[in-house]
């Protein structure tokens, strides 16, 4: 309670400070960025627990966004996410899989060198992947389906990865997270990487990196990159507003809206970064009745949720993760009321873990109330919510980041999933999903997955009302910030500063 009131007070103070800014002169953001120029230091601010207790091991638990960005600058990865679900080569120049997608061959670049001058070889990649696999508990199974014991190096410039099950989407699962360190290295106080930047200095709050002129890729425009951790999101936004940092990464919609209104800062949006679904359990009343689930999906006003919770920074969703390509059913209050007025009252559980989870729950309760379903919202602290409430109660709010759809399915939507957040257990579905994941042709696989997603949207317990954008606030001089989804956000080698 005390903590909450402190936060609220800090927030109020921040808004006051910004109100003052609005009276200042506003410059026109955006416009023609012109041709990229070299030079300059990018001061990049991101949220970090404790104002930046920096983790040095790239393969364990990366608690802070500021750590992710530093790893993306110091180390090469096999593949990176591109636009619209595409996967782009990085350290791996190309990849192929055998017919059933259980054996993958990644060809490595031959011109990559570590900052100590040694070439990057397959043995280094394999050592790094083994470390990631060994720390699966800490990093939440970052390697997905990879069977590391059966994976091998083929010469110096190719690795052969085996998977425990067909996984035609493996390059995307691995995109952005396979940080490569030299073979045998276990300590990272003085990091040796082959990425676009090298570490100059680091203290508790700030890491300073310099351009690595030996990097194989397109020469970064920036001379230096300063990555600073902020414990308080409000202070991070205030630092951007007052020009103490050039970029405030991953701010909340309110901070982005304020920055946009004052006109001194630019907001860049990465589509589909966060989702706050409402989860109805298929094995608990009243949501065990398909007509109740359907009525709930008919009752909600998705655009009002996107406007109210995400402040317009997002798109409406069609009740399944993986993108807005599955359209939602048309709103029909009369039809919904017909079913819901007999469903009795329900409790919608939510948590203060993310600000949007409470506001979404409150707005959903109001909307469902208009359709005849009496909903009481109950809040829980984040420390107990994920273990004691979520996946247990019949109706609860969830939180998704933009993990690839197949990864999400394996986590929570198969009969064999360690936990199943809505109780979606369906042997036919499991089989069809496995079959789809063995289809190597991307177009064909996506078509099969879309059919499965349409079925989940219609019959499932997920109310995915919208997809929120990832929001970065920056000074108008900053150009070339990442705009793709997922871990694309941590790779800053294309950024430049307009003079």
């Amino acid at each position: 309670m005390l903590e909450m009131s402190r936060r609220t007070a800090v927030g109020a103070v921040f808004l006051l400070a910004l109100g003052g800014c609005a009276t200042g002169g506003a410059t026109q953001p955006g416009g023609d960025p012109g041709t990229p120029v070299d030079g300059g230091t990018l001061r990049y601010g991101a949220v970090a627990a404790g104002g930046g207790t920096a983790v040095t091991d790239p393969h364990g638990s990366l608690f802070n966004e500021s750590d992710w960005v530093r790893m993306g600058a110091l180390y090469d990865v096999l593949t990176v996410p591109g636009d619209n679900g595409a996967v782009l080569p990085r350290l791996a120049s190309s990849w192929t899989s055998e017919e059933d997608a259980t054996r993958w061959r990644f060809e490595l670049r031959t011109d990559a060198v570590f900052s100590d001058g040694k070439p990057v070889r397959a043995a280094d990649v394999l050592h790094s992947l083994r470390r990631i696999a060994a720390k699966a508990v800490q990093n939440g199974g970052r390697l997905g389906t990879v069977d590391i014991d059966k994976s091998t190096a083929d010469g110096d410039h190719a690795v052969v990865l085996r998977t425990t099950q067909p996984d035609a989407d493996l390059p995307r699962t691995l995109a952005g997270v396979t940080f490569v360190v030299p073979d045998g290295v276990e300590g990272f106080e003085n990091p040796v990487g082959s990425g676009p930047f090298t570490l100059s200095t680091m203290d508790g709050q700030t890491a300073v990196l310099a351009r690595n002129d030996k990097w194989w890729g397109k020469r970064p425009h920036l001379d230096r990159l300063e990555i600073r951790g902020f414990a308080d999101p409000q202070a991070l936004a205030a630092a951007a507003t007052s020009g103490e940092v050039d970029v405030a990464a991953n701010v909340n919609p309110a901070a982005a809206k304020t920055a946009e209104r004052t006109g001194n800062l630019v907001v860049s949006r990465r589509p589909g970064a966060t989702t706050y679904p409402m989860l109805m359990r298929l094995d608990k009343a009243p949501f065990d009745r398909p007509e109740v689930r359907r009525a709930v999906k008919l009752a909600v006003d998705r655009q009002a949720l996107v406007d109210g919770v995400l402040l317009g920074y997002g798109t409406i969703g069609g009740d399944v993760p993986g993108g807005p390509d599955v359209p939602p059913p048309a709103r029909d209050i009369a039809e919904a009321r017909h079913v819901l007025s007999s469903a009795g009252g329900v409790v919608l559980h939510t948590t203060t873990a993310y600000p949007g989870m409470v506001s979404a729950a409150t707005l959903l309760a109001t909307q469902l109330g208009e359709a005849g379903l009496k909903v009481e919202v109950r809040q829980h602290p984040p420390e107990t919510y994920w273990t004691q409430v979520y996946t247990v109660e019949p109706l609860a709010m969830g939180y998704y980041t933009d993990v690839p759809f197949p990864v999400w399915v394996r986590q929570t939507a198969l009969s064999t999933s360690a936990f199943n957040e809505t109780g979606w257990k369906n042997a036919d579905f499991d089989a069809e999903f496995a079959a789809a994941m063995a289809v190597v042709d991307q177009g064909q696989r996506e078509a099969q997955l879309k059919k499965l997603r349409e079925r989940m949207a219609a019959d499932g317990g997920w109310l995915v009302w919208g997809f929120g954008d990832g929001l970065d606030v920056s000074s108008p001089a900053v150009q070339g910030l990442p705009t793709s989804t997922g871990f694309a956000r941590i790779f800053l080698d294309g950024v430049w500063l307009r003079r």
């Binding site: 402190r6 007070a9 800090v10 109020a12 103070v13 921040f14 006051l16 400070a17 003052g20 800014c21 627990a49 404790g50 104002g51 930046g52 207790t53 920096a54 983790v55 091991d57 364990g60 638990s61 608690f63 508990v137 800490q138 939440g140 200095t201 680091m202 203290d203 508790g204 709050q205 700030t206 890491a207 300073v208 300063e226 600073r228 902020f230 414990a231 308080d232 202070a235 991070l236 205030a238 630092a239 507003t241 007052s242 103490e244 940092v245 873990a353 602290p381 420390e383 107990t384 994920w386 273990t387 979520y390 939180y399 986590q411 929570t412 360690a418 936990f419």
Partner: protein
């Protein structure tokens, strides 16, 4: 003998503080494993993490282990990032001292003369103003200062960022607003506390005598009144030392200053008990030293008075 008793009592207090903080941390819902595991964590993963972090051990075993380490000067490693606690504490502590020491000096140095002025004449309006300032929450004050000095006037930075690899000494202007935000209420508090003793001393015969003999008021204040204020001043200074160290939490959050307060807030949030324990022990040691120093000052003065 008396010295041994004092040290013994201080050590016992320190032990009890550490024990209490440990028990309270244990009683909080969730632990470091649950929080590190995050949302999509299976019970198995939480159990594995708990074992890896040593959290599956009984409470008393863990406390005894921590105590044994602390006695040797080893404060353990953070449960969040595995870094040793002692250097982390030290860097955050020194960062916080850049704010805490000026606040402490200002509060005593300005609060005492203010108390003399107000206590001498029993100024009611001044006292009411003091009460109002002392009661202002630091976060409101900090916000107000930012709006005026950073946003409107543009004289000082709105957030207190320290240059990479450096300290606040490389950029002293970042300290002004955080120090002011804490020093204003602290000064008012000291002044209010000493106002009563000042009125008290001023009413005594030796002060009236001196004034009648024609000794100038400032000289009377320094020679005759001030010495009698030293014991309450020392006590207040000791309490203030602990108070300032903990009050920086709020101000550090507003100004994004990477000190001990932010470390504390995060350690509570992530249930990082080695860091919490280390912080509690450090603050307890500072307060105990301050209290012992205040007692020593009082004892020396009492000795002098007796000898006279």
């Amino acid at each position: 003998m008396a010295a041994a008793l004092t040290v013994g009592r201080a050590a016992l207090t320190l032990f009890l503080v550490c024990l209490l903080v440990f028990l309270i941390t244990t009683a909080l819902p969730g632990d470091a494993a649950v929080i590190a595991a995050g949302q999509h964590a299976t019970p198995e993963r939480i159990a594995e993490l708990r074992a890896a972090l040593g959290l599956d051990q009984p409470v008393w075993t863990r406390f005894a282990g921590w105590l044994a380490g602390a006695a040797r000067g080893d404060l353990g490693v953070s449960l969040v990032d595995g870094r040793p606690v002692a250097p982390l504490l030290w860097s955050r502590f020194t960062a916080t001292l850049f704010i805490a020491v000026p606040v402490w000096v200002l509060a005593l140095g300005v609060g005492t003369p203010v108390a003399m002025l107000l206590g001498w004449r029993a100024d009611r309006a001044g006292s009411a103003l003091l009460a109002a300032i002392a009661g202002l929450p630091e976060v409101v004050l900090a916000g107000g200062l930012v709006v005026v000095f950073a946003t409107w006037l543009g004289w000082l930075p709105a957030v207190s960022l320290v240059p990479a690899g450096g300290t606040a000494a490389d950029r002293p202007e970042v300290l002004v607003l955080p120090v002011l935000a804490l020093a204003l209420p602290a000064t008012a508090w000291i002044a209010r506390l000493l106002r009563g003793p000042v009125s008290d001393v001023v009413g005594r015969p030796f002060v009236t005598d001196a004034l009648l003999r024609g000794v100038p008021v400032p000289v009377v204040a320094v020679r005759h009144v001030l010495p009698h204020l030293v014991p309450p001043l020392a006590q207040a200074g000791a309490v203030l030392a602990g108070g300032v160290l903990t009050a920086t939490t709020v101000v550090e959050a507003v100004f994004a200053y990477p000190g001990m307060g932010q470390l504390l807030a995060t350690a509570v949030g992530t249930r990082d008990s080695p860091v919490l324990q280390g912080l509690a022990a450090l603050v307890a040691v500072v307060v105990l030293i301050a209290v012992l120093a205040a007692d020593a000052v009082a004892a020396v003065l009492a000795g002098r008075a007796g000898a006279r």
